[in-house]
Symmetry: C2
Subunit: 203 residues, 2 copies
DNA sequence: GAACATTTACATTCAAAACTGTATGGTTAA
DNA sequence: TTAACCATACAGTTTTGAATGTAAATGTTC
């Protein structure tokens, strides 16, 4: 095969990732072969083995794209309005997270990670799930601590429990929704749950 | 091989299910072969193909064991004390659910269903997850409606939203915990979340 | 800047392993 | 005697990783 330019090579790498995303989503990770991915991208397994070490490596590269730290959502909100109360900031940041979920690619990769893959030879998707969750937890906790310092939280609610409540609720919601995104609107139902949660939490 | 008595045959069927449970849990469903399951039970693939049609059939038989309708938890609570307020009934039923999760077999099968299996040829674990969730939802909703009729719920909280909040929160909690049951005590953390949720929900 | 050498970016081919489903065989409970 | 219960043997497919081929892009030298 003729050698491609660096830009073309990068493009085929992207094409492989996109193909993997689609086939993984459609058939699950375990039941898709590298052959199928390559063909779906109009290439052969040679290309796959050139750009990635193996299936696990390809999977890792795919999931690397979905890091959604809570911090960036907060920044997004703070930039729009710097004078928000901590609870309102959390509320809006959660809403911003829902908006991001409307991006189809984002949706598919998250769905693959949560519902369409198992163990791997040396890859453990559960660890990735946990890592992403922990990052968000730490960042949200800081804001809830701020809310408590300003005496905005109910007296019988600690920042730790508040954070866990939000995390678990959102996590469960995402799981349910990604299982069947057509069943209901995530912005609508998620928005309701977020708003009522925050409302119940404030003093 | 010599023919076994009916009781012995039933015992080997159970042994196969138990072996499947352990190997599925340890290696994930996709990456375990029927050979491995049979050997782990001290048998051969012949036994597997006699008792089950194929891997999907074996998987179905395994998951059939974990139906946990919310109703049975409520009954369990009602039997202990018939004069409970609806909110207290829900609270105790959720606690009872946490207790059931301590049963190792229960834990493993649920973990397989949630985290250790993908699609199948004709089996879709996501449908099972959804079905189990929906059953619990309907039953819990009824009790929350009762709570509203007795004016025990916050005025700004509908029974539907209350139910969804509890469901999502518990679902997210289970997912997190089953990912790594050693990380924290489900009864402790789950108990906290349940209690605070109910407390925040009441008028 | 032209000629040459070297990599790159894949396609193609090959051997090996793993897994499945079925078919067959043997023994004993019914 | 029959057929349940399971072991064993067999054929077939699928997938993987590595080896090999190759033409163009890139680097190097003068």
């Amino acid at each position: 095969m003729a050698r491609k330019t660096k830009a073309e090579a990068a493009a085929t790498r992207e094409a492989l990732l996109e193909a993997a995303e689609e086939v993984f989503f459609a058939k699950g990770v375990a039941r898709t072969s590298l052959e199928q991915i390559a063909r779906h991208a109009g290439l052969t397994r040679g290309a796959v083995y050139w750009h990635f070490k193996n299936k696990g490596d390809l999977f890792m590269a795919l999931v690397e794209q979905v890091r959604m730290p809570f911090q960036s959502l907060m920044d997004e909100v703070d930039k729009a309005d710097a004078e928000l109360s901590p609870l309102e900031s959390i509320r809006l940041a959660c809403h911003a997270g829902l908006v991001r979920l409307e991006q189809p690619s984002y949706q598919r990769i998250l769905s693959i990670l949560l519902h369409r893959c198992e163990f791997f030879s040396d890859i453990n998707p559960l660890d990735m799930q946990e890592q992403i969750g922990n990052e968000c937890f730490e960042e949200m906790l800081n804001v809830f601590v701020l809310a408590e310092q300003q005496q905005l939280l109910r007296e019988d609610l600690s920042p730790e429990i508040a954070t866990r409540l939000m995390q678990s609720m959102l996590g469960g919601l995402f799981h349910d929704w990604l299982r069947n995104p057509g069943a209901f609107s995530i912005r609508e139902r998620g928005g309701e749950l977020i708003d009522t949660s925050i409302r119940m939490m404030q003093r």
